[in-house]
């Protein structure tokens, strides 16, 4: 059989990120700081699809509570090192993944041997306090290693990505349709001319591809309108009527398709502002020997646009399915593909020029990469993350947070609480943990200790709010203070697993450089079952 075991095993996911994505995954080395239930769930969802290796760093001894909520621990492991215990069981999930562990306290490791973390492709820090986290994030930032910061408490999950820059070519848009109907290229115009609608029998007429129908009538329209395209809504309507007039009977599906796609004629093909912004980026402007392939090819495409492309991106070269007979469709497909090939060759020559200007040979960038780039040129993405230092110290998003916080439905309130319990932890070396919310009938259960826990946490919330210059905290904040005291730093298995799924998915996107990852913070509220993403 021509299908190997691995292709079979990974079949369902290869359909999402192909062999190139799988290879990137298999070359990744993932570090997990703290083998908590959430941490293990993240690793589970990375080990199953086949990362290269993982290392768990954890100095904690497994206790009964740990073993109760983690699928990768059991009662027998109580008293053993948590990194060792979970690594053994995680390793079992996939024989193609190498599992390793370091039974050391991650905080002292960050303080004393920060370089240890620079060997990994990606680092996931679960439940690390603010100070060591800042140090870790700076070191990884400088080495351009992505860091995922993860927290779960009660019904709330939080994670944050830091990384100086992430670029994506294969963003997997819903469809890549680039037909150039408003400005057909010569080969396409030439092909349309070979059709004489009037002389066709009904069978052939019912199989003219809609691209040809639209271009034929557009040609006629332009002749009658000084070469201009239909632009006002009255003109667009008239143009559609013109197409309708060519229809021989109501059953002609190709004419239905032409009418449904007429908007493509009215929508000018151009470089979108998003892509233009990437072209204007300083990284695109000044290519150096340190520039990544992404920026070199982007620059080559920009050069193509300003020269041979006459203001347009290289053609994607894909033709959607449409009513047509086989040979017409295949010919049309070939015309688009041929033009795309020519464009790719031109971009290739720009790439070579740029490479030689920085003292590199052409084989530094493979043809495949250029082909894929040209196909996705309209959808490329650049994400510049904000650093944790910016978020916490040098440039917090004060006014955004203030604005979001006023909306009682907004999940930003969880961010405030998570930051506040971190501050609480820093002083008390524990998380707030008490029943603080009562009904009137519950009075006999109310005790002073519980009440004071609420007030204590509230002082930390207020410190944070004043740091953020938020002067009018909303009333609903109190409810969330009660709720987080109730949660008492607990990890719920469902929330651990949910966060495991969310974080692993984003790790996969970053590692494979496919699909668009979040920027930069995501919060899931398991009470309301809602999520939000923030740039913090």
């Amino acid at each position: 059989m021509n299908i190997d075991k691995k292709t079979q095993k990974y079949d369902r996911q290869l359909r999402l990120w192909q062999v190139s994505g799988q290879e990137a995954l298999e070359n990744s080395r993932v570090c997990l700081i703290n083998g908590t239930a959430t941490g293990c769930e993240i690793l589970k969802d990375l080990v199953l699809p086949g990362i290269g290796s993982f290392t768990v760093v954890d100095g904690k001894e497994v206790d009964g509570a740990d073993a109760g909520i983690s699928f990768f621990l059991d009662g027998d492991r109580i008293g053993t090192n948590r990194a060792l215990a979970v690594t053994e069981l995680l390793q079992e999930l996939n024989e193609d993944v190498r599992g390793d562990y370091l039974a050391e306290d991650p905080i002292s490791l960050i303080e004393n041997r920060i370089d240890y973390f620079l060997q990994f492709t990606i680092v996931i820090a679960v439940g690390v306090p603010e100070k060591p986290l800042l140090k870790l994030s700076e070191a990884l930032w400088d080495s351009k290693i992505p860091l995922f910061i993860v927290r779960t408490t009660g019904f709330v999950g939080y994670f944050r990505v830091t990384l100086p820059e992430h670029t994506v070519v294969e963003t997997h848009p819903e469809s890549i349709v680039d037909l150039r109907l408003d400005i057909p290229f010569p080969a396409l115009e030439q092909y349309v001319k070979t059709f004489d609608f009037d002389s066709m029998d009904n069978m052939d007429h019912g199989h003219i591809p809609y691209v040809v129908i639209l271009l034929k009538y557009l040609d006629q329209w332009k002749k009658d309108h000084d070469g201009k395209l239909p632009s006002t809504s009255a003109e667009k309507k008239q143009f559609k009527q013109l197409i309708e007039s060519g229809r021989r009977n109501t059953d002609e599906e190709n004419f239905n398709e032409a009418l449904a796609n007429a908007w493509r004629v009215f929508t000018p093909t151009k470089v979108t502002s998003q892509v233009q912004e990437i072209f204007n980026d300083s990284a695109c402007e000044s290519i150096t020997a340190n520039s990544s392939n992404f920026w070199i090819i982007t620059r080559a495409i920009r050069d193509f646009v300003t020269n041979e492309g006459q203001g347009l991106l290289p053609l994607a070269g894909t033709v959607p399915d449409m009513k047509a007979d086989t040979s017409t469709y295949v010919t049309l497909q070939t015309i688009y593909r041929q033009k795309a090939k020519t464009d790719i060759a031109t971009v290739r020559s720009h790439v070579d020029k740029i490479l030689s200007s920085i003292g590199r040979t052409s084989d530094f960038i493979h043809d495949d990469e250029i082909v894929s780039f040209c196909k996705h040129a309209a959808f490329i993405q650049v994400i510049r993350y904000r650093s944790l230092k910016e978020e916490y110290i040098s440039d917090p998003k004060k006014s955004d947070i203030d604005r979001w916080l006023q909306d009682p439905q907004d999940n930003i309130v969880h961010y405030i609480l998570i930051r506040a319990i971190d501050k609480f932890y820093e002083t008390h070396n524990r998380y707030p943990d008490a029943a603080t919310f009562f009904f009137e009938g519950d009075t006999e259960e109310v005790n002073e200790e519980a009440k004071s826990e609420f007030e204590l946490l509230k002082t930390y919330v207020n410190i944070l709010l004043s740091d953020l210059q938020i002067t009018n905290p909303p009333d609903h904040l109190d409810d969330y203070i009660h709720e987080i005291c109730r949660a008492g730093g607990s990890e719920l298995p469902n929330m651990a697993s949910l966060l495991g799924g969310l974080v692993s998915q984003e790790v996969i996107k970053i590692v494979t450089r496919q699909y668009i990852p979040i920027n930069n913070t995501s919060i899931f509220d398991g009470i309301k079952s809602t999520s939000s993403t923030y740039i913090l």
């Binding site: 079979q8 589970k44 073993a67 109760g68 086989t326 519950d442 998915q505």
Partner: protein, 430 residues
């Protein structure tokens, strides 16, 4: 199809799990923080300190499906303290399950999933469609992690039907589904909230290729593959049943499709695409399954313990561009064929034939039947798909105009293999 009762404990990843394992100190301490304390959002009826008892002793859960979602669901329920769980699945394990179904090892390939997933204490051969009402009434909660629309429709209609006249018989259905980076989790309270059938038109319709395109004007690699499986297989391997799990069969289809594609200068026929088209493969990976299963189990936990409000009633999840959820109340449809209190109303051409009407019932996005049989509300057979005797007897009606058999504004009773109940459809001619 096997139904397996998990008597008690967490299925652990080791080869021979020990089900008799006792609790250890602190085991439930995380969960108990929530269950022992009142919170500002929890239900008025929530009574601190009793959650464990509810989870451990009072709640029976049925999990349908032991695939990518099912494995996650079982693990989460067990870790959340649910003790009495029964699993039904209809599949055996394939190698391609191993990238996301962690309760299975390479050595399990070929075994029925439910058996391995619950480590098999009591084996019974059963099918979703074989279960009677009492079987479902034996559970407090039913969680579906299936990739089959048909099985979901069946269970949904069954549960709505059971609950129809007696609110005591309402059994909550939690349903999860994924496709690639997308998914949804929802809570269905039969007869109270919208049901699975109410939202049938939200499903992506499967692309069906017209047979004339496949036979005469292929353009896509998919057309060539369909040609191999729909036209060439019955022609060349008449006596053999096509088994889409048999790699030699896929290989044969692939080669035939490739030959046809080359003949027509069509590119893109691959083994993987052939397999994808003939098996109707839905891409999947571990993360989305984990997200949706956890969302479902979180709702189950909240509903059973009343420790937080539960989802009302739909969460849509999209992860391909950033991370996005849309949580909303899907509205119950008054004319839902399963839970609505109004008849479904269909306007049709006055000249429509019975045959075309049947085609309409198959294609209409909010009805989507497979093999509908039609009866008038005065109990006259219009067309019955089975048994053969009735099929033969009613076949001549297919050519007739529907209006000859059913008067304007009258009802047609429709039964179908897809649903355990019959639908009432009022027709109006235009």
């Amino acid at each position: 199809m096997a139904a397996t009762r998990m008597q008690t404990d967490v299925p652990t990843p080791q080869d021979s799990p020990d089900f008799s394992k006792k609790d250890w100190p602190g085991r439930w301490s995380h969960i108990n923080k929530i269950l022992d304390r009142r919170g500002p959002f929890c239900d008025k009826s929530f009574s601190p300190g009793h959650g464990e008892d509810i989870l451990l002793n009072q709640c029976r859960v049925l999990v349908i499906g032991a695939g990518g979602l099912g494995c996650e669901i079982l693990k989460n329920l067990a870790l959340s303290g649910f003790k009495d769980i029964e699993v039904i699945d209809m599949d055996t394990i394939d190698v391609s399950n191993l990238n996301r179904q962690f309760l299975f090892r390479p050595s399990d390939v070929g075994s029925p999933k439910a058996k391995v997933a619950a480590e098999f204490i009591m084996k019974r051969v059963a099918s979703v469609k074989d279960k009677d009402d009492d079987y479902y009434l034996g559970f407090h909660l039913i969680i579906c992690g299936l990739d089959s629309v048909e099985a979901r429709r069946w269970i949904n209609a069954t549960l709505v039907n059971i609950a129809q006249d007696d609110p005591e018989k309402i059994r909550v259905l939690i349903d999860g589904g994924t496709e690639g980076f997308k998914g949804q989790a929802r809570v269905i309270i039969p007869t109270v909230t919208s049901c699975y059938e109410c939202s049938l038109d939200m499903l992506n319709k499967q692309t069906a290729f017209p047979i004339c395109t496949i036979a005469n004007t292929p353009r896509l690699p998919e057309h060539c593959i369909e040609w191999a499986s729909v036209i060439q297989w019955p022609k060349e391997r008449e006596d053999e049943k096509m088994d889409t799990d048999d790699p030699t069969h896929i290989q044969w289809l692939y080669e035939i499709a490739l030959k046809r594609a080359m003949e027509f200068n069509i590119t893109g026929v691959t083994y993987s695409l052939t397999q994808g088209v003939v098996k109707n493969i839905i891409p999947a990976f571990a993360s989305t399954n984990a997200i949706i299963s956890a969302a479902c189990c979180n709702e189950a936990f909240k509903i059973v313990t009343t420790s937080q409000p539960y989802l009302n009633n739909y969460m849509m999840y999209m992860g391909n561009e950033g991370l996005y959820t849309y949580t909303f109340e899907h509205q119950k449809k008054d004319d839902c064929p399963v839970c609505g209190n109004q008849n479904a109303f269909l306007e049709v051409d006055k000249d429509i034939t019975v045959q075309d009407f049947i085609e309409l019932l198959k294609e209409k996005p909010d009805i989507q039947l497979k093999k509908p049989s039609l009866t008038t509300d005065t109990n006259e057979k219009i067309y019955w798909q089975s048994p053969p005797l009735f099929e033969q007897r009613t076949r001549p009606n297919l050519e007739k105009r529907l209006s000859e058999l059913v008067k304007d504004g009258y009802n047609i009773i429709v039964t179908d293999t897809t649903l355990p109940i019959s639908l009432n459809i009022t027709v109006s001619y235009i």
